[in-house]
Amino acid sequence: MPAFLPILKSWPRERVLEGLDDVNADDVRRCMNKRRLRIEDMLCLLSPVASELLENLAQRAHGEHLRHFGRAVNFFTPLYISDHCTNQCRYCGFNARNKQQRHHLSSEEIVLETEAIVQSGLSHVLLLTGDARHLSSPAYIAGAADAIRHLVASICVEVYAMTQEEYALLLAHGVDGMTMFQETYNRDLYANLHPAGPKRDFAFRLEAPGRAAAAGMRSIGIGALLGLDDWRCDAFYTALHAHWLQSIWPAVECSVSVPRIRPSGSRFTDIRPVADQDMAQYISALRCIMPRLGITVSTRENAKLRDNLLPLGVSRMSAGVSTAVGTRANGHSGNGQFQIADTRSVKELSDDLARMGYQAVLKDWEDPGPPLPQPAQGNGYVRHA
């Protein structure tokens, strides 16, 4: 099984920082004029020097984006089905040490939540749970997918790191994709931020997207939580990870989210600054390096910034978001995982995008599904051995 850890180790932090520093304006201009950029060029495009040429970078990114994605933006929405968690991530509202009422939805409640989502026009759902295998087991998540797969166009999961066999189980129950945030690729910082719980295992989490790809997941999303470490370092490592995934499993639709840390119930304050300009540079650089990569900006960012980041390369947006469990249709009121900054409804967001000349795509998947009955004249073909 291919592993990313050796690749990550081949790029120690000193090498990345050196690469970011050892750049002048001519390097950036030369880089931006290359026909095809290499992953190493990401350091040049992320460098502080490149931020002074951000408009040029943004123009190239916009051109790439327009050619490959046009003026269409895919919408999806998170569906939190359980916030019980055994981890103690210092920055997270679901931290096991936080004293709060927690919820764990039944299949019936999950269906009600999904029906409310479908009512708003959305059809791509991201199922989320905390890390509590005793409650939110792979079988529970598979059951949730079973309960709603007839209602939606696709189901992805953002849950704890699983084994390849567990991802295969989810696939068999209609889950098409997974998202796994490494949070930070800085191993020492990771250990400090995750003092207890299964999530402490850096390598097991790091290789989860690869295991999901090996199991056959169609779409895989990754990302770092910007603001934990120097954003440029984590941005580079995220791009490296995505590039590696895409190279090893070219059939996978790979995407990167660019979440910036938001206030939560954790009272976490040790935040490294990430400016709006940094977000623009990161997205533009990603789009130039990997023109076909999915790029997601969530409701962590406010409406104005989301709208302005869109032309730089954003292909997916979350909409109609609640980060708490059971608030759409089950009357629960709980603490969300984090505060959202863009509170527009699906319709409001769609209308705003339309005014900018962009179209919200509410459905962009058709599950080839289980084998259909062969028509009478169907003549079988030889499958791969």
Binding site: R71, P371, P375
Partner: protein, 260 residues
């Protein structure tokens, strides 16, 4: 007489007078689609089944009734998935034309020739009108023909690049050797490139990105329609021979036939 006036070509038993096929992706609004169809004068439109909402909302509600629908299997990674999607499209009432797209490399989006041939073989036997998207490879084209394809759709350049007829020499070989309509698909970035493909003898062009990503998609659709017509007329009128050198209008050997 204008040779292009009654210049039809047939696919799946249907006579088509327009040689421009259009797409439905990447537009800032699906509401543009009727204007795109009208301005381009296209008769065939491709739509990704993955984008079709069974509730009748969205794209399908925008496609004019006179258009020949060409559902495509975007998202299929192998022959089995393409076959399933084609069957779903027909079962949903979208007809028996199908553009096979089998792509298992999301970086370059190049079609998988082997899987495409396998899917074509199955679907042609099920009476689909199969138009496979392909690399312009002579052997794959022959296999597709043998498998029952109604036309072949070679790429001019990687999809979405607008880089033009980068595979021109290979497409020319297909035009010479494959007795099926050759429909140049993907990569055409400007009307002049579509015109060039038609001058070469391509049966038609499919253009989406270049129209959808322009500042005025309706104006660009019209430009492509005119360019395809112009290219076809040039092909039918047979271009004059080309030479790398200028040709003197007063030939040096003209005196040989003259009387003293």
């Amino acid at each position: 007489m204008d040779a292009a006036c009654d210049d039809f070509f047939a696919i799946g038993g249907k006579n088509l007078s327009s040689r421009l096929f259009v797409g439905t992706g990447k537009y800032g609004s699906d509401a543009l689609i009727p204007s795109i169809c009208a301005a381009s004068n296209a008769q065939v439109i491709t739509v990704a089944l993955r984008r079709v909402d069974s509730g009748g909302r969205g794209i399908m509600g925008q496609i004019p009734g006179h258009m020949q629908l060409l559902p495509n299997t975007s998202g299929a990674r192998n022959a089995e998935e393409a076959v399933r999607l084609a069957r779903l499209a027909r079962a949903a009432g979208y007809g028996n034309w199908i553009k096979i797209e089998v792509i298992s490399d999301n970086c370059h989006l190049l079609p998988d020739g082997y899987e495409t041939v396998r899917a074509t073989e199955v679907l042609a036997k099920e009476d689909f009108v199969v138009l496979p998207y392909m690399n312009p490879d002579l052997y794959v084209a022959r296999s597709l023909m043998d498998a029952g394809a109604a036309a072949v759709m070679p790429l001019g350049a990687p999809i979405g690049t607008n880089r033009g007829l980068r595979t021109k020499e290979m497409i020319a070989i297909l035009i010479d050797e494959i007795p099926l309509p050759i429909i140049v698909d993907a990569g055409i970035g400007s009307p002049s490139q579509a015109c060039e493909a038609m001058e070469m003898g391509a049966a038609a062009c499919l253009v989406n990105t270049a129209i959808a990503s322009s500042s005025d998609p309706v104006g660009m659709a019209r430009a492509f329609g005119e360019a395809v017509t112009a290219g076809r007329r040039a092909y039918l009128s047979e271009l004059g021979p080309q030479s790398v050198r200028a040709s003197a209008s007063s030939p040096l050997t003209g005196f040989l036939g003259e009387k003293n």
